[in-house]
Amino acid sequence: MTFRTPTGGSIDRNTLLHFTFNGRPYTGHPGDTLASALLAHGVHQIGSSVKLGRPRGIVAAGSEDPTSLVQVEAPFSEPMLLATTVELYDGLVARGLAGQGRLSPEPDPARYDAKHEHCDVLVVGAGPAGLVAALTAARSGARVVLVDEQNQAGGALLGVDEYLDDRPSAEWVADVVAELKSTPGVLVLERTTAFGMYQDGFVLALQKRTDHLGFAAPASVARQRVWRIRTRQTVLATGAHERPVAFADNDRPGIMLASSARTFLHRYGVLPGSRAVVFTTDDSAYCAAIDLAESGVDIALVTDARPEPPARLAAECAARGIEVRAGHVVAGTDGDRRVTGARIAPLAATSPDLTVDCDTVLVSGGWNPVVSLFSQARGKLRYDAELGAFVPGEELPTVRVAGSATGELDLGACARQGRDAGAQAAAAAGFTPGGQVPLPVSDSRCTARSGLVLWRVPGDDDASFVDLQRDSTVADVLRATGAGLRSLEHVKRYTTIGTAHDQGKTSGMIAAGIVAEELGVELAEQRPTTFRPPFTSVSFAALAGRDRGELHDPVRVTSIHPWHVAHGALFEDVGQWKRPWYYPRDGEDLHTAVLRECKATRESVGMMDGSTLGKIDVQGRDAGKFLDMLYTNMMSTLKVGRIRYGVMCGVDGMVIDDGTVIRVGEERYLVTTTTGNAAKILDWMEEWLQTEWPHLDVHCTSVTEHWATIPLVGPRSRDVLAAVAPSLDVSNEAFEFMTWREAEVAGVPARVCRISFSGELAYEINVTAWHGIAVWEALMAAGEKYGITPYGTETMHVLRAEKGYPIIGQETDATVTPQDLGMSWAVSKKKPDFIGKRSFARAENNRTDRKQLVGLLPVDPAVLLPEGSQIVETDRLPEPPVRMLGHVTSSYPSAALGRTFALALVRSGHERIGETLYVPVEDSLVPVTVTESVLYDKEGARRDG
């Protein structure tokens, strides 16, 4: 049996679309939604409910629908879409959900993007009020953006058969849209939902560009686009949603909002069923009843909860043989997978006096203005007792509300509000009015009288559903108030009402009403729950846009990177940098590769790509004075040509970074930072220069990426350097430790620094990034006879740890001082002040039980301690709480030591050297010996080669 009307609706009956739902084939037409196509086949049940497994159908015709969640399976699997907003296309495969979907394990092949738009007036909603607002603003010359979530303009007009100015309303809509689209500076966005409204006129809108094309969607077009709109003025013409009434068994398929049934009829040419009972508290449902009756639906009964039904509409019903019962309600329903009967009761009585057979129940409990965006824009809401709904309660300087979003129900009045709001918005944005837009005159038989406010019909509270998606009932609300909850926010969280995909569009107001009734308070005194973005669901893919895969986060690579890739390096992410981690040879794992790299470097020569090291060029007359304040040690006394290691602290005296400082010239230094801290330290410098010492003549520039930096490390490094830099005297006497020289290296001008982060004889070769690869390859060639070995960050970490050199951020967190690291030698006693100095005198900084950096040697030299392990005092764990002495910060097997070792921060660590402590590892306590942090070449004999 078909429920499709022979004519009417904006569907193309001449074209057949095939689709599959819950495994069965169906047909529909272009213009259908999945919901309307299913209803045309008499299919009401979409899925079942999330907790109780009750059959659930289609309640509304649009994005406010609480129940019709589906998973679209083809062309691409996507969960949690509403059948009422999925436009039908050929080949669609979908199935109903029980409140939860399933993300596709496959990567989404579609493209998503974002676009920025700036305008003078943004109008949200293309119903009568929004259209008139947009046209009024456009005629003033303002840049206007009109967004609307439907695939065609018209708003509520799409669901009625009204005539405007004596012609079908669609013609009036088409004329307005045509004028808007032909006006320069006006952008009309269909299928676009404004889902978030933020400060200063910032609005996010999601445009579904190709969803409706299904398999025919061109791959070259972004499927969805997030519009990032910045507007001076906004007109919210977001309309109103019809509100249901809670009654027993109000969730069966076939029970639908009256205006939605009317929309299905007029927009899609679909009847909701054969025989309907209408349950209303206001006038608007009469129009649905009359329209459906004229289209062939048997309207078995109209129950109007009000004692007096509207005389004219009641007479129209009588003329069509429709019985109207005033003062009556639907108090319950029968049926299983579809409603089969409605139990009718007087509003005041508790038991039904009549059961009416039907396959459809149409409900209208009044209208809720859509105030979500207004509330997001921090507009205050006011309870309108006549409407039984929250409405915009104040004027905002840049946001105006027009149409039924204000609570106004009359079309003419809505259009007038739109015209006023459009004119005011344009004027506020600095535009003078253009030609006045005439207001349309409607022939609607429906009056704008508001109805009786009725939240629920007394009955079985456990089966009276408030939030159908969450399976939350009147009984749940009563449990919440019974438990002492008074705030709507608390009730929302206790009952989960309003937390599903629909954000309580049809349920929130009812819950609020029942709470107020139960507590005996006025709703006007209740604060409504806060509306938050997004208004409708937005997929993560849309929010991510193009920022996926390689574009998710910028990747920084050094100039030598291609060589590392070509030679099989595995990479480690350090901030945004890709750094070679190690270079495995055939069959090597991390452990064996690193042991080999360490051994080769300590015994002959190795080299690494150190280009990611942060580099800041500090210049100016006061550069030395400035660095003296930033570093704990003295930098102004450094001689040109020399290098000094330095530590930086915060004002609290805790280490924030370390590195070398090169004095390039009298008024010029090159500061190096930890790879991950380069930007932070530049910020730190600028902050002090701008906010505290603007009188200093100092300029800081990041030069990190200007230089390729290659540490050449090991006893043979001098021979390799000599081979590629024949003009440079590399002898220890001529080129001392902690000095630098300018020289030609591999035919390229270079700055060579004699510094070491491994304890070995080492040179750091700096050339412009442009020459990085050429110099790297020249060094590889020159070192070949010594077995030169490229190594990565892991080997660097092991080599420095063997020497007890800390890595800032690994050995330290924000609680470690230079003294804790055993670096009192790097803290100046002479300087009157530097950042952090005063904190070193604080009592807290002088406690003897501070955590201090030490080495740990597991008694069993084969045991590798997990980094992060806790350290305890006794070989057996006492009853909790157990006193923790500290934790392991670094732990490696060492080729040079022939055993494992670790660095750790330990309470009173410097006093504990020689003690045995214990490290809980899984179920055992591993004994370890505390040592000095320097474990290899304590005398520093290897430094000069």
Binding site: Q199, D200, V651, Q690, T691
Partner: protein, 93 residues
């Protein structure tokens, strides 16, 4: 996404800015002369008013200048912005 009016660049999106905490907390003239408590006041203690609050901002992804702003902490509305070294303007919340 709020617009923050950088005194050098004009209104820009807040994502371009970094927050710098309470304004007008000067580095002490002579830290060595302070008691531990006075020094701790400088290092650790900050106001947390409900209402107008003078604070530092840096136009980090723009001109990279630090400046001061008076923000109403209840609404996030920026009541005034002014350059480093300028006195805090009178504001009405």
């Amino acid at each position: 996404m709020q617009l923050i009016p950088c005194p050098w660049c004009g209104p820009r999106e807040e994502a371009e800015f970094h927050y710098g905490g309470q304004a007008h907390v000067a580095y002490p003239e002579d830290p060595a002369a302070l008691t531990d408590e006075q020094w701790a006041q400088y290092v650790f203690f900050r106001e947390n008013p409900s209402g107008p609050f003078a604070e530092r901002w840096s136009h980090h992804a723009g001109c990279r200048r630090w400046f001061n702003a008076v923000r109403d902490t209840r609404t996030h509305d920026l009541l005034a912005v002014y350059r480093v070294g300028e006195p805090m303007p009178e504001v009405t919340a």
